[in-house]
């Protein structure tokens, strides 16, 4: 019995042109000859990382940042009945909880001002921080499918989450104005400091969001830890209580470690007590916030090149 299998026929005539040699599909050995198995040393690609380039990248993504922020905002509130009211409900409800429960349990020195205002002034920056971190910390992982397809400066994603939190912040500031009216209190002339405090608040939040966002990509455990850290932070920050609860000796150090301490006390000083920001607390916080922002951004840019490899 013939056991021959398949043979390729050889055309008898050789008058047919146009039949080039058949290259072998899996010529492993030939490949090795043609190309080395390792790139030449010195050819390593290094993503350029200069401040000028980073600033230019961000400046050019203004349009994208706006589109992403709008998207984030619309996507969050579509198909909800209350819509943007949710931005107000969260801090107001927490304030009510503080007034009803915390105020009964501990005595807080509000220098004679209503506790509701005092607490709300702490809750505003806290809500901004908490919203930014909980969403922004995981944004790169959540958007990994997009990050794998579209080229853009990666920082627009954390930036957009902070921008969304800023919109919420602005809305709840409207409620703050109503509260001031309701309590027939007027902010003092020290209100001029508010933009500076706001900048410090944003700088620290942004810095921490940058660090967290990029860390979560490489170490997913960090993402799991974020809600825990936020709960911890609510107690570790003078939101429900005042700065005087922190011992005098470590106040500056504590404000440097947790810049929200300086931010919240500065808001209360300027808006509620009619005093300039407490520099022994706000100073270290501001310095620390700048370090967070610069350091966080550098860290982010340093590792953003590998996001698509692992995400």
């Amino acid at each position: 019995m013939p056991t021959s299998t398949i043979t390729i026929p050889v055309p008898s005539a050789d008058d047919e042109p146009g039949s080039p040699a058949i290259p072998s599909p899996s010529s492993g050995a030939a490949d090795d000859v043609r190309s080395p198995t390792e790139p030449p040393s010195g050819a390593r690609y290094r993503r350029p990382l200069t401040p000028w380039r980073a600033v230019r990248d961000v400046a050019r993504s203004g349009e994208l940042l706006r589109a992403l922020t709008t998207r984030e905002y619309r996507a969050r509130y579509t198909q909800t009945v209350l819509g943007m009211t949710w931005a107000v409900i969260t801090p107001v409800l927490l304030m009510v909880a503080f007034v009803v429960f915390v105020q009964r349990a501990i005595t807080v020195d509000t220098q004679g001002q209503p506790y509701a205002l005092f607490a709300y002034l702490g809750l505003l920056p806290w809500a901004f921080f908490s919203t930014s971190l909980s969403r922004g910390g995981t944004i790169l992982v959540l958007e990994s499918s997009l990050l794998n397809k579209v080229r853009c400066p990666r920082e627009v994603f954390p930036l957009s989450t902070v921008a969304v939190a800023a919109i919420d912040f602005a809305v709840s500031c409207g409620v703050l104005a109503l509260l001031f009216l309701g309590f027939r209190t007027l902010p003092s002339a020290q209100i001029v400091w508010v933009p500076v405090i706001l900048l410090v608040q944003i700088a620290f939040t942004l810095g921490l969001v940058f660090v967290t966002a990029i860390l979560v990509v490489y170490v997913r455990d960090v993402g799991q830890a974020i809600p825990l850290l936020l709960q911890f932070g609510l107690f570790a920050t003078p939101v429900a209580y005042g700065i005087d609860a922190i011992p005098d000796g470590i106040r500056s150090l504590y404000a440097a470690i947790n810049p929200l301490v300086g931010v919240i006390s500065a808001y209360r000083s300027c808006l509620l007590f009619g005093e300039p920001p407490p520099w022994n607390v706000f100073g270290p916080s501001a310095a620390s916030a700048v370090v967070w922002l610069v350091g966080g951004y550098v860290l982010f840019k340093r590792f953003e090149g590998g996001i698509a490899d692992v995400a």
């Binding site: 398949i6 005539a13 290259p23 599909p25 080395p36 030449p40 690609y45 998207r71 619309r74 579209v150």
Partner: protein
């Protein structure tokens, strides 16, 4: 949009060179590696040693050298895992190479998956503007093209519907319409057209061709070789992470098709049937010629007597044949020769593959559909279809023309 918006930079020993022009793609000695696979890294199970354990690497791309000029259309073919998608990710610059440089001039539109850049919670309208922002195109510019996009995507009233309620065809049409209509300097298309229906596919190809004529560079990845053929003049064949061949589409696809068939044929022939091709002959033992009869002969060997259908086909490469003949046969437990004469072989000049299969009466596949051999066919050349048509007309029919009144 500014021309150097997404330009990379020069590194290493290559020194400073001019930035790429808009639409230019310069891949120089690019290497890419991924971490080797790991088993679950768990502190609980392995202790600190598990975290320190080194993992190997696998090279996805090795020493890739491809230059694409502005307005050039380049096909990218290769088997699964040959590095096509990784290369596209380097070109979109969502990934950095390990070594070498990848420089892309101008804005890059990537159609890598149907939903690239579409956000399910937003309406089609919002998504159009968002996508434009990703391409770096100003809002006013997008607004100017908006009606054109909606018309091309055939979305109409659904444009204000959330994208999560779109069918996959609608999503694909919308993202294609945005990317193609906004005419970025570079378009990267990866196997997305497969989702659309045939008429939309054809319109996409037409649109792509127009963009190319307007100066957009195109890198087109597809397993649909006919589509690659219809839209590109140059094709790069990737094999195991290296450039196997880079040449004219006709040459590269021809070689690629033959290699694919070769591979299918060289696969171990298991099963109860063995088939040998004994050749194709025209009348008087000449070479097969289009428009004339041709005789195909084969020998089938089996250990036990079989009854079933012998199916023989002729294809210009892919498994879908141009011509099929089928015959119920009784095979005794030995070798049987089978010869079939096709009257008026309707093929143009070129190289074709003979495919074969054998199914027994119960429908069992005793021999799976496989390429058996190549045959060269002489005769007239096929006339070319209009540009952009994804299927070459494969059949040759003798035609008489009468033109004029």
């Amino acid at each position: 949009m500014s021309p150097d918006r997404s330009s990379g930079s020069t590194t290493g020993s290559s020194g400073a060179t001019a930035p790429p022009r808009p639409g230019e793609l310069l891949v120089d000695g690019a290497w890419k590696r991924f971490r080797g696979d790991r088993r679950a890294r768990s502190l609980m199970r392995e202790g600190p040693a598990g975290l320190r354990r080194k993992r190997g690497y696998r090279w996805a791309l090795r020493d890739i050298q491809i230059h694409v000029a502005p307005g050039e259309a380049v096909g990218l073919v290769g088997s699964n895992g040959s590095g096509k998608s990784t290369l596209l990710k380097l070109l979109t610059q969502v990934m950095d190479p390990y070594a070498g440089t990848v420089r892309v001039g101008g804005s890059v539109g990537a159609l890598i998956e149907i939903q690239a850049g579409l956000h399910p919670e937003l309406t089609g309208r919002d998504n159009v503007f968002l996508y434009g922002a990703f391409l770096g195109i100003p809002r006013v510019e997008v607004a100017r093209h908006f009606d054109e996009i909606v018309a091309f995507a055939e979305i109409d009233a659904a444009i204000d519907r959330q994208v999560k309620f779109y069918s996959s065809g609608m999503k694909m049409r919308l993202s294609f319409a945005v990317a193609a209509t906004l005419e970025p300097d570079v378009l990267l298309v990866d196997e997305v057209l497969a989702v659309g229906d045939a008429s939309f596919q054809q319109r996409c190809l037409d649109r792509l061709r127009r963009s190319i004529d307007d100066g957009t560079s195109l890198v087109f990845v597809s397993h649909d070789l006919a589509a690659v053929q219809s839209i590109t003049e140059r094709t790069v064949w990737l094999d195991q992470g290296t450039v196997h061949t880079d040449g004219t589409t006709a040459d590269v696809l021809g070689a690629y098709r033959r290699a694919v068939e070769e591979r299918a044929r060289s696969g171990e022939q298991v099963g109860p049937l063995r088939v040998r091709f004994d050749g194709a002959r025209g009348p008087d033992a000449t070479l097969p010629t289009g428009g004339r009869p041709v005789e195909l002969s084969l020998t089938i060997s089996t250990d036990v007597a079989r009854r079933g259908a012998l199916i023989l086909g002729v294809s210009d490469g892919p498994p879908s044949p141009i011509v099929v003949v089928r015959r119920e046969v009784d095979l005794p437990a030995e070798s049987t020769t089978a010869t079939v004469t096709l009257h008026d072989l309707p093929l143009g000049r070129g190289r074709y593959a003979v495919w074969v299969a054998f199914h027994d009466t119960t429908g069992d596949e005793l021999l799976a559909w496989r390429p058996l051999a190549d045959i060269d066919v002489g005769g007239s050349d096929l006339d070319a279809p209009p540009p952009g048509v994804s299927r070459q007309a494969p059949v040759h029919v003798a035609a008489d023309w009468r033109i004029g009144s």
